[in-house]
């Protein structure tokens, strides 16, 4: 059970991710950030609720839409921004960028540019934990787009067969890039795919950080106890397009977007809950938001001031 400080911490993390992503939008559209930017605005409750169930030495694998996972697993804002701008102080010395942030010290085995590409890597980390005799667990984050990658099913099969401490967490944001999930995904109930392997499988309200945290905590406990994997399908929504450049969003209606944003926003929902349960006042939450904005601003300044990597690093780190 969480205490007041922890409830507020969940709020702080969600607000931080949102402000971070909003800043990424600004940096990208101002042509300061190169490459591609996949924002997770609207999905904040999933990484925050899930990672709050983990220890620092537990692992995650992440996706191309992974800024929230990194931050929720403990990444520093300033080094995140530095990586996004390709600077030497970034988590990967500027060599990974937005889609490849990894931080071993925080158990982050890396975001991934291949949809579903880290599903088996997560299971391998689980196998490793088991072989090394630790009780570490791993959460594999992936989107609904990965549901139809064979690798995910291969990995779930082995995790179930070998009772690996792996949690398969699908962030179902309803769209795989520009295609509605329901139009390309067979079977009305996605969790049936997990149950087919004998994996306990649940649908979770991904806009409710406490619901995500509760389900993730049960899954983590099951994994630590040696009882194998869990499959969680967290229903959520990305408010922005597939990436910053996807501004038309012709594949969905403005009404649908409005409904999610106005009626199911994870941050507004948790704020309401905190206030109505006397864990915080509106003024407390405003302070949290102001602190987050300041931290984001400082992080951007740090990243802008950081130099690009020296050219001689281009041939370094090819072989360990």
């Amino acid at each position: 059970m969480l205490n007041t400080d922890q409830f507020i911490e969940l709020y702080r993390q969600m607000v931080t991710i949102r402000r971070f992503e909003e800043a990424v939008w600004e940096l990208y559209t101002a042509a300061i950030m190169p490459g591609l930017a996949h924002l997770s605005i609207g999905q904040e409750a999933v990484p925050v609720g899930a990672c709050a169930a983990l220890r620092r030495d537990d692992y995650i694998t992440s996706t191309h839409r992974g800024h929230g996972h990194c931050l929720a697993k403990g990444a520093r804002i300033d080094r995140m921004f530095a990586e996004l701008l390709g600077k030497v102080d970034g988590y990967c010395r500027g060599k990974g960028g937005s889609m490849h942030i990894a931080d071993q010290d925080m158990g982050n085995l890396g975001a991934n540019g291949i949809v579903g590409g880290s599903a088996a890597i997560a299971a391998g980390a689980g196998l490793s934990a088991k072989m090394r005799g630790t009780d570490q667990v791993v959460i594999s984050f992936f989107g609904d787009g990965a549901l139809n990658q064979g690798l995910l099913l291969e990995s779930m099969n082995m995790a179930a067969s070998w009772k690996l401490p792996a949690i398969y967490l699908c962030e179902n944001n309803q769209y795989g890039e520009y295609t509605p999930m329901v139009s390309v995904t067979a079977g009305a109930d996605i969790t049936a795919r997990g149950r087919a392997f004998g994996i306990p499988s649940f649908t979770v309200d991904g806009q409710d950080v406490l619901a995500v945290h509760a389900c993730a905590s049960e899954a983590v406990a099951r994994a630590r106890a040696g009882d194998g994997p869990t499959f969680l399908v967290c229903n959520t929504y990305r408010y922005r397009g597939h990436h910053v450049g996807d501004q038309l969003r012709a594949y969905r209606t403005r009404e649908e977007e409005k409904e999610w944003e106005e009626q199911r926003d994870p941050i507004a929902g948790h704020a309401e809950w905190l206030i109505s349960h006397n864990h915080a006042t509106p003024a407390d939450l405003e302070r949290v938001d102001a602190d987050a904005r300041r931290e984001i601003q400082e992080g951007i300044e740090f990243a802008k001031a950081s130099p690009f990597p020296p050219l001689e690093e281009v041939t370094e780190h090819v072989y360990a």
């Binding site: 692992y59 694998t61 970034g90 988590y91 990967c92 010395r93 500027g94 060599k95 990974g96 490849h100 990894a102 931080d103 071993q104 085995l109 890396g110 991934n112 540019g113 291949i114 590409g117 880290s118 599903a119 088996a120 890597i121 997560a122 299971a123 391998g124 980390a125 689980g126 196998l127 490793s128 934990a129 072989m131 090394r132 791993v138 064979g150 690798l151 291969e154 990995s155 099969n157 082995m158 067969s161 370094e316 780190h317 090819v318 072989y319 360990a320």
Partner: protein, 342 residues
């Protein structure tokens, strides 16, 4: 190819007269490394109880238990990913992919994940894993079980590629591969598993990136890989009967590549011929010919020649299959052409 004999000129060290097959040498390397380092473990299809389809891992599970010799489902991409995840988190997996043809199924995991983790993370994440797989035609196994696809992975920065030709080399190189902190892929010619050769008792390793002169000569350089080394050595013997002294060099690893040894030999002999069982086009022979041409152009008396597998899917019918594989006759003929003797 099934009549390959180990040759005395392969000897490198005092060997106490002991001989092992190629498969036994690999098995011994695996067992020694597993005894030395508890992080090393094996996984793959039928590697445990069955001892592998080519019996390379026979008896290993009995010594090390199913916990360290894991029989996997037939899910090549999945087991490659599992090996990568284990390697990222403190283990040193040795993954077997039964047929080299099946490495096509692990390409995303090896090329986009294993090969790039260290670089993409700026040197934080490393993937100390070995992927053992097979190559080579001649087993009447047709187009999906006979290819030599070592060029594919040699193309990828971040991967190391080992291609041993003798039991001695196989053991020493595999031990180095297991101790390496980068992902290493080893291609073993399945037609050589029963090939016998000297392997000394006791510990030794062979560094990756060191070519081996299998036979010294003055008149022509033959660079050959894997089982083609034996064809080259037989051809060299026949050439010597005609008074031609051929030098046979085995690069042993395609990356890192010991370019200097190849170039130095070509400078000495002024003529070079490359023999490799991969496809000819855009392949190993083209790359090695280019390395030699760039490094020794002004010393060469003739264009570098190359012999590779036919650019066709490997056919089943035995006479057709045999026609696609480089052979001793062709090596001799091409060498004579290079020397202006026909």
């Amino acid at each position: 190819m099934s009549t390959l004999e180990p040759r005395p000129d392969e000897l490198h060290a005092a060997v106490n007269g002991r001989e092992l097959t190629f498969a036994e040498a690999i098995r011994e390397a695996l067992a020694e490394e597993m005894r030395r380092d508890p992080r090393v473990f094996l996984m793959g299809e039928d590697v445990g109880g069955a001892g592998g389809v080519f019996k390379v891992t026979e008896g290993i599970q009995a010594e090390f238990t199913p916990k360290r010799v894991i029989d996997t489902p037939i899910s090549e991409a999945g087991i490659a990913g599992i090996a990568i995840g284990a390697a990222l988190t403190g283990m040193r997996p040795v993954l077997e992919i039964m047929f080299g043809d099946f490495t096509t199924l692990v390409m995303d995991q090896m090329v986009n994940q294993a090969a790039k983790a260290y670089y993409m993370s700026g040197g934080k994440l490393s993937v100390p894993m070995v992927l053992r797989t097979t190559m080579g035609a001649g087993r009447r196994s047709a187009a999906q079980h006979s290819q030599s696809l070592h060029a594919w992975t040699s193309h990828i920065p971040g991967l190391k590629v080992v291609i041993p030709s003798t039991p001695y080399d196989a053991k020493g190189l595999l031990k180095s591969a297991i101790r390496d902190n980068s992902p290493v892929i080893i291609f073993e010619d399945k037609m050589m598993y029963k090939l016998k050769g000297p392997v000394p008792e006791g510990e030794y390793t062979i560094p990756l990136g060191l070519a081996d002169v299998k036979r010294e000569g003055q008149d022509i350089t033959i660079v050959a890989t894997s089982s083609m080394v034996h064809i080259a050595l037989s051809a060299a013997e026949r050439l010597s009967e005609q008074g031609i002294s051929a030098e046979v060099i085995d690069p042993r690893t395609l990356f890192p590549l010991d370019a200097q040894t190849l170039i130095s030999s070509a400078k000495k002999t002024s003529r070079a011929l490359i023999v490799d069982e991969g496809y000819r086009r855009y392949g190993i022979t083209g790359e090695l010919a280019s390395v030699i041409t760039e490094g020794a152009f002004y010393y060469l008396d003739a264009p570098v020649r190359r012999i590779a597998a036919f650019d066709v899917p490997v056919p089943f019918s035995p006479p057709l299959e045999d026609a696609t594989i480089p052979n001793e006759e062709l090596v001799v003929k091409t060498a004579l052409e290079l020397l202006g003797r026909r």
